[in-house]
Symmetry: C2
Subunit: 390 residues, 2 copies
């Protein structure tokens, strides 16, 4: 049953193929100094950078830039951005990019005026900035669908020294004040990244769905979102410039991880924990690490939640249920997931992402164990799942 919760979401989303026309308007509520953050420069090749600079100019902003935000943003890069934000006394951080860039903006905002050990306190100990700490507001212009970072408090950062990649969900203060979601901005994302994003979305939904034995509205919404992601993915891999498919993928990504489908229920998140550990060792693309371990993980926990997996098979994958035991149906659902991973071109083996047998102990050690799912894993079980995913 739905537990007690508070639902509130402060992010304003501007969605559609004309969404960028709202940037100047969205910028109005903030002071003149903007820190513009982005990644490797693809936004300069596809024209988005120019559109954003135009809007910033129109809004009369003074712009400082931090570019080169990497796909798995590092603590070192966060501290560099925090210093620049502080030294320039910026009024807004405007992140242009995918989830990594927006996650990075949140980390920079939290770190800019923090005097303690940023890594230890925010990521390892999962603390929040004190109520009286100055927080720099964030805006986002999304160029890749996947993480949902545009409408949540999530910020995944990698400590390059300790090889730990940890996610922190900050409070509403660190959530973007606004986000511009133009599905056309995702058209130039390379296929590999598009597919990784699609699996990331699916994984977000599954990791909230596969927990609890109750019958919550949240789970029905999750099923609707999964059906939409699957249908749209099948169109998008054949026709990446299909606006309907890409807009559905973008919108599903936002709702897959802005708290809605997790309200009032348990959540799992072990696939993300294992995936983060793999990324920290291999620098593999986030969504692909999730795809590569999901099938082994779900086969491992399925016996502990046969009914839920049978429902997943029937509702999400439309597998006929007549004359089948729940166990058979459950198993066929995971088969369907495995087949879909191959169909869309996501990773089926962690070896294809650079993981080698000698890394497995280290990856398992770096895997944070959570307890919201159907089975609390021990170290040996993580090793087993990694071996089966090789």
């Amino acid at each position: 049953m739905l537990g007690n919760f508070i639902y509130s979401n402060p992010t304003t989303l501007y969605f559609g193929d004309q969404a960028q026309k709202n940037i100047t308007e969205a910028l109005k509520g903030f002071g003149p100094k903007v820190l513009l953050t982005y990644g490797g420069g693809s936004i300069k090749r596809n024209g988005i950078y120019e559109q954003v600079c135009e809007a910033l100019k129109e809004a009369g902003k003074q712009v400082t830039e931090v570019s080169g935000v990497m796909p798995n943003p590092t603590l070192g890069k966060v501290l560099e951005g925090a210093r620049i934000a502080r030294e320039n006394n910026v009024d807004l951080i405007l992140a242009v990019g995918g989830g990594s860039t927006i996650d990075y903006a949140k980390a920079v905002s939290a770190a800019a005026y923090y005097e303690g050990d940023v890594w230890q306190n925010f990521w390892v100990k999962q603390k929040e900035p004190a109520a009286d700490q100055h927080i720099i507001p964030i805006g986002a212009i999304l160029t890749m669908a996947g993480t949902g970072s545009e409408m949540n408090g999530g910020s995944v950062i990698t400590n390059e020294e300790t090889k730990m990649k940890i996610g922190k969900v900050f409070s509403q203060r660190l959530m973007p004040k606004f986000a511009i979601l133009n599905p056309r901005y995702t058209f130039s994302v390379p296929r590999y990244q598009m597919v990784a994003g699609i699996f990331d979305i699916m994984s977000h939904i599954m990791e909230q769905y596969f927990s609890g034995d109750d019958d919550n509205t949240s789970d029905y919404l999750a099923e609707g979102l999964m059906r939409s992601v699957i249908a749209s993915s099948r169109v998008a891999i054949k026709d990446p410039e299909n606006y309907e498919a890409r807009s559905n993928i973008m919108w599903s990504a936002t709702w897959a991880l802005n708290t809605l489908i997790g309200e009032g229920k348990k959540e799992d998140w072990m696939v993300h924990m294992i995936g983060h550990a793999i990324s920290a060792y291999t620098h593999a693309t986030h969504g692909m690490t999730l795809a590569a371990v999901s099938v082994a993980y779900y086969r491992h926990i399925m016996p502990y939640a046969v009914k839920r997996f049978a429902r997943f098979a029937k509702v999400v994958w439309e597998i006929p249920s007549q004359n089948k035991s729940d166990l058979q149906l459950a198993s066929e659902g995971i088969d369907a997931l495995a087949a879909w991973i191959k169909e869309i071109g996501a990773a089926s083996e962690i070896s294809s992402l650079g993981a080698t047998p000698d890394m497995l102990e280290g990856i398992a050690d770096a895997t944070i164990i959570l307890n919201g799912g159907y089975k609390v894993l021990d170290h040996d079980e993580v090793i087993k799942i990694l071996q089966e995913s090789l």
Copy 2:
């Protein structure tokens, strides 16, 4: 495909069987003078009134009351409330009740400092209060699930003189700042009202779902919500105090009409238009008027959207599709809807709600014709649907 839109929702929801513990906290952000509005006094019998007064006292508020808000709130009652709010210079309107009471609070807030013709401008001409007009903030304590008024700008008011019942969707300024959603508060709702609420929720979803030929994430979310409402309704009619079912119904109601599932797509709303006209003539309970005309309405428009109705049958009602034409499947979906209306005890005929053949012309004349659905109705078609619903 998803059109351009802005998504933003300012309402904070406190949900759960302990939700009332947040009332004092929620009241803190507002001035000391509160206008407490409620209906016929059932909240005094079930103890909710006492809990709310306790919280108001704890928060140090001075309370003025307007009670007797009727199920279809009238313009006269709105003007009375507006005068009392203005004369007492209130800082917050706290509505305790179902959708009618919350709709009423919005109307009072819009009318309190408005100097023109409230009915003509807000409801007939669908204007907004001017940006510089003072708006009294609203809070809600929900005791009945159905309208979604707790998280939207909707306000349906009846002009008792002209027999017109019109809905107005106000901007975010008029939306509740907070809402307390305790499913247990709905346990004492009489069965008839509970069922009417359930059908109202279902109708909200269907009236957004049955429009457009595209394949939007919004529609997949709508399907998830419909499946949840159907499943929960079947538990709740047998066991009205089943917390899981009642909490799912309450949560579904909120998301059925807070803009999410209508984003970027066309919407229909003709069933509500016909239903409002019936209520204005008969004073019948809102949700029941919708149930009584839905089957005839959907059979009438189904030929214009066979594919969508076939999808409705398959996904929402789980009707096997093998060896069936879309037309047959579509028809069986509406049969399933008709059967469910009987199963939960909603109204199948408008005659059972007090409508008589001599009223039909008047009801058709009072029906506002919209053009977002699959078929724009003319007067004769409304008459035909009403006759088939008798």
